[in-house]
């Protein structure tokens, strides 16, 4: 039973560029949530996708957008990268927008 997977594991970008991160949910899960974890902090909720739509959103600007595909996998896109976007980006999956979320290993993004 495959757990949540994310790609890539690490990424280096420069300011102003755009980045796409990918996530495949745990088998049987249909809901994907994305979190940003700055160094030394707890994760911050970005948004949640269910039935290919953004259902809930945290306090993040429109530069952060996403997509969910029919196979439930998801992408996180960040435009016009800022130095402050450097963080660990975590994807979590759950079943039918349930409360128990299982996390992937994360993507470490460094913006120079």
């Amino acid at each position: 039973d495959a757990g949540v997977t994310q790609s890539p594991t690490h990424l280096i970008k420069t300011r102003g560029q755009q980045v796409t991160l990918r996530c495949s949910p745990k088998s049987g899960h249909d809901t994907v949530s994305w979190y940003q974890q700055a160094l030394g902090q707890g994760p911050q909720f970005i948004f949640q996708y269910y039935e290919e739509e953004e259902r809930q959103r945290g306090n993040f600007p429109d530069r952060f957008s996403g997509h969910q595909f029919p196979n439930y996998s998801s992408e996180l896109n960040v435009n016009a990268l800022l130095l402050g976007d450097s963080a660990l980006y975590l994807c979590a999956s759950s079943f039918s927008r349930g409360e128990t979320q299982y996390f992937g290993p994360g993507t470490r993004l460094l913006v120079l």
């Binding site: 979190y35 707890g42 909720f45 809930q56 927008r97 409360e99 996390f103 290993p105 994360g106």
Partner: protein, 117 residues
């Protein structure tokens, strides 16, 4: 808005001893869930234990148990017989329902647990 507070940035315990990590939260909702997650240096967030707010009985998972005090909005994690593999960052998180589905998790800032051999 809900908030989660972990007042202990770091805790240290001798191997085989018991340690308790503290967490307080604030939410106006009556239907919510509480979680403890563990994040080792590998950075994968691992679910340790969960507690439904409507249940009075404290959750237990092997060596891990919680002390859930709903009126005080307190949710502490007790680790018994600490092992070297328990060393990690521990995050307390709250999850509430709204708009027909579950919101994202709200996390505390974490407690770094050190296990002394």
């Amino acid at each position: 808005a809900q908030t989660v507070t972990q007042s202990q940035p770091e805790m240290s315990v001798q191997e085989a001893e018991t340690v308790t990590l503290s967490c307080t939260y604030d939410t106006s909702e009556s239907d919510y869930y509480l979680f403890w997650y563990k994040q080792p240096p590998s950075r994968q967030m691992i679910l340790v234990i969960r507690q439904e707010a409507y249940k009075q009985q404290n959750a237990t998972e092997n060596r891990f148990s919680v002390n859930f005090q709903k009126a005080a909005k307190s949710f502490s994690l007790k680790i018994s017989d600490s092992q070297l593999g328990d060393a990690a960052m521990y995050f307390c998180a709250c999850h509430m329902y709204s708009g027909g589905g579950a919101d994202g998790l709200t996390f505390g800032k974490g407690t770094h647990l050190i296990i002394q051999p």
